[in-house]
Subunit: 183 residues, 2 copies
Amino acid sequence: MQELTPTAKVILGCLRLGARNGYEIKGAVELSTRFFWGASFGQIYPELRRLEDAGLVTSADDAHGGRNRRSYELTPRGERALDAWLKSTDEPLFAYRDEGLLKLFFGGLLERDAVLAGARATRQWFEAALAFFRTELEPRARAGAGERDDFPLLTLEFGIALLEFIVGWWARTEARLDEEAAP
Amino acid sequence: MQELTPTAKVILGCLRLGARNGYEIKGAVELSTRFFWGASFGQIYPELRRLEDAGLVTSADDAHGGRNRRSYELTPRGERALDAWLKSTDEPLFAYRDEGLLKLFFGGLLERDAVLAGARATRQWFEAALAFFRTELEPRARAGAGERDDFPLLTLEFGIALLEFIVGWWARTEARLDEEAAP
DNA sequence: CTGTTCATGTAAGAAGTTACATGATTTG
DNA sequence: CAAATCATGTAACTTCTTACATGAACAG
């Protein structure tokens, strides 16, 4: 059983949770996993086909009126592959990329005021992201969540806490740079 | 003046900070920016050539004994391009990808014990990363830092604080899952 | 004299984004 | 009837990693 591609992981999981076609998978990703695991149409549709060729999903025509539509579900092999991945303890893929931090790394090349301006702009960008999470994503996730713990909501809370951490770090850094500017 | 590619940004900055050739740039990246901005040889060498073609760097033969070596420095245009990028407030590139979190997102598909085991494995992986930062990276960064604030050290401190946050979050999540397992 | 470090590069392929192209259905 | 949503797909391009290939100099 060969490794699942990154996009295959989110596709199989979303199908298992009830998504039926590429469009619904994309919708689920945008609402929930997007910030830690994205997928575009340009990845989803070809990958669905490869998964079918590999026997992990089956598809059926699901036209609705004159509208073209194809519905997918996991095969037993697909279920096993998903389960095996979910239980595997291989070292998890992790990637963090942050242009604001790269600019700060080169802060010695600018005057302090310019570095401070950059820090402020970066913090504001993260604050906007945090506001979006709280106003657009969190209410929906809470509405959809069961009374016991709900994993999609849990991961969203991670995102919010992460953004709070980052915003706080930049705010502290601004204060520190400000202090040292006028001692 | 066209946009710098992601790898060009770190190359120009490293050259400006004193790196002389591709090998030294790679060394600097591994020691410092790697966790938020990586670059492989397969990116660095071709990009150096493109930057030279674009007139942002110049190169000279710098053979050392019979050993092949080429040294690079910024041209005035390269300096301006670096400066413009550092001062720009375009929305910064930011990407976060986390397979442990994706597995947790699909936690409803597994028994609670399996989810807990996954959480533990993820936390341990981040703890190992944190230990590496503290024992391998931080001492070097402190040794190289000036007495006033030093930006490379500052970004490393961000990395450490970020990993501490993540480890703490997973530890709290494990406790929460454990509680709910046996109420 | 052996292994590590210094040093440069290419080729193949994986992964992902963006833009384009198409068209039906539903909602206001 | 217009705009939004539903729905699928392809093509071109960018970015990045990995593996390979080569070889000199230096440290033990």
